[in-house]
Amino acid sequence: MAEMRLLDAIRLGMYEEMKRDARVLVLGEDVGIKGGVFGATDGFYAEFGEARVLDTPLAESAIVGAAIGMAANGLIPIAEIQFSDFIHPAFNQIVSEAARMRYRSNGAFGCPIVIRAPYGGGVEVHGGLYHSQSIEAFYTHVPGLKVVTPYTPYDAKGLLKAAVRDPDPVLFLEHKRLYRALRGEVPEDDYVVPIGPAMVRRQGTMLSVFAYGQMLHETLQAAERLAAEGIDAEVVDLRTLRPLDTETILTSVRKTNKAMVVYEDNRFMGFGAEVSAIIAEEAFDSLDGPIVRVAGLDVPAMPYSDPLAAAFIPTADKIAGAMRRLAAY
């Protein structure tokens, strides 16, 4: 069992799936000889060749649109969007086409594609307005699509393999700050982490905090600090954002009676709104306090200049503060 980074786990997951199944291919910008701008497909070109490790023209709609056709004709494409910020030109192909192929054909045609997209920002990402965005809010609204975002290297490999084997389109979101930040145990064997179930990362009794990606990391740090203050928080890793594991969310809230959701994306209409709305409708009787959202600011995106970037994003400090207030409520 090897220790590795999230990025390596994703690469390994893809590598194993390409070895296992000749129908699997990767396509995107710079995924070939360069191995991707983050190195997720490093070495694939030499190993699998140009036909299965395809440097596409610079056109995201074509990357997704062609992948849909490839899937219709027997391949299993893993499309890499270089930065999630650049997935928008493919919005119509994802929403109107990939996500609806099965429904509109009454089950006759499917669309087994995986769309990988590095997302998220932070001062150390230096991504500015167009290399920092969270995009899950747009895509989790789309029936027919599945949306996952791993936190641990173990989940990264397991969820990636589950995504490749899934008969429906999966948007696989990878937070850039997690790529190299943490290492974790990743078994060599062929395991999958099922798409769907959330995971309680920290057991607690006084409040439930729901998060994913980098914000889960910040939340866990905040929870540790608060533990020292005697505030015992439960922290849940949502992992799969659609279909969402409502049961695990409600079970946790019914236990702690207080709920908070943390996300990096813009607050208004961000993913936390749905989590909050589900709790407000289905666990109302269990609530002993308001459902709190801690999120990114409602400005177009994270600015580049360090002081502005720092002002945009929720940190362990901000999260801990909000948890303290909710616990004391």
């Binding site: 036909a51 509109r104 006759a108 045609f109 499917g110």
Partner: protein, 338 residues
């Protein structure tokens, strides 16, 4: 295009290796497509169905092109005027009518899509959407898979001339050109995108000239001339199978009806223009050719149109009596049902 004189004409279909029976079968598809189409309008006017969008005027080009493909092996990624193409590819009149009536047994979508969104897995006709132009990229992906899997399949797709303005159209031709993919990109240029004339759609006479910018041939063909369309498509299919890459085929056709049952074309289209279109009616032009080469006369004509009438009546009654979708199925097939 003036009617070719008989000598030339005879050499035309013979030169293309088409028999008398081929011609009559091709004619039957054009005529059947037209008959189904006309029936659809009647049903819509009678309030029996709520919407119709038509392929009248486009049938000749579609039958000519589809005649050049292997109907078992090859793919079709159609658009909403591809009625004749879908018929030729193997869908039945019942299949089409079930879609018009939006019944449970509609093989295209089980009544989920508007009429004219044809699909059929058994006939390798991919499900398409309403947003114009997206299908070009799906055809490109299908052709890429055919190439890397070595299946020898060719993919035919089509769109109107207005659809050539979409970014996806460009991205598809570019992608297919880079990889020399086995795909026929057809543009059915009927001079209007609903009300928008070609002068406001693009600044060129023939959109086919754009193929040069993608590294493959672009051909302009008279869409009312079934044999000319067949000839062009046959060469394009040959190129595709030989690994020589895509062909862009612009068929000059006429829209013999309003854009759809929602449109009133009198408002933007001069009567003279509509009338002029009639001279390009592929059904008339093709029949004329068949008469000239004495393949068609009273007997086969009556026979063919008699059979067609039966088929259309049967399809209409069948669809009309077919059950509606069960409301409880509305939540099915959002995801794979394991």
């Amino acid at each position: 295009m003036a009617a070719p004189d008989i000598k030339a004409a005879q050499t035309r279909h013979e030169a293309l290796g088409l028999t008398r029976d081929d011609l009559l079968e091709m004619y039957s598809y054009v005529a059947l497509a037209r008959a189904i189409d006309e029936r659809m309008w009647i049903l819509q006017r009678a309030g029996m169905v709520s919407f119709v969008i038509s392929g009248q005027g486009h049938e000749g080009a579609q039958v000519g092109i589809m005649w050049a493909v292997d109907r078992e092996r090859d793919w079709l990624v159609p658009y909403y005027r591809s009625l004749a193409a879908c018929l030729t590819k193997g869908m039945s009149a019942r299949d089409l009518m079930l879609g018009l009536f939006a019944r449970e047994a509609d093989p295209s979508s089980g009544g989920r899509q508007m009429p004219a969104h044809w699909a059929h897995p058994a006939h390798k006709i991919l499900s398409t959407s309403s947003p114009v132009g997206t299908q070009y990229l799906h055809a490109t992906g299908i052709a890429y898979a055919a190439k890397v899997r070595g299946t020898g399949e060719v993919c035919v797709t089509s769109v109107g001339e207005g659809g050539t303005s979409q970014g996806d159209w460009h991205e598809a031709l570019n992608f297919a050109g880079v990889h020399k993919l086995p795909v026929l990109f057809c543009v059915e240029n009927n001079r209007y995108a609903i009300s928008v004339p070609t002068r406001l759609q693009f600044a060129v006479q023939d959109v086919a000239v754009r193929a040069a910018g993608y590294g493959f041939p672009g051909i302009v063909v008279d869409g009312s001339d079934v044999l000319a369309c067949y000839a062009v498509a046959r060469e394009a299919v040959r190129r595709a199978r030989a690994g020589e890459g895509p062909t862009l085929i612009e068929c000059k056709v006429e829209r013999l009806t309003a854009h759809s049952s929602e449109d009133r074309q009198e408002k933007y289209r001069p009567t003279a223009d509509v009338e002029a279109g009639r001279s390009k009616d592929p059904l008339v032009v093709f029949k004329h050719y068949l008469e000239q080469v004495s393949v068609m006369d009273e007997a086969p004509y009556t026979d063919i149109h008699g059979r067609i009438k039966t088929i259309v009546n049967d399809a209409t009654e069948h669809a009309e009596q077919a059950p509606w979708p069960d409301p409880s199925t509305v939540t099915r097939h959002v995801y794979h049902e394991g």
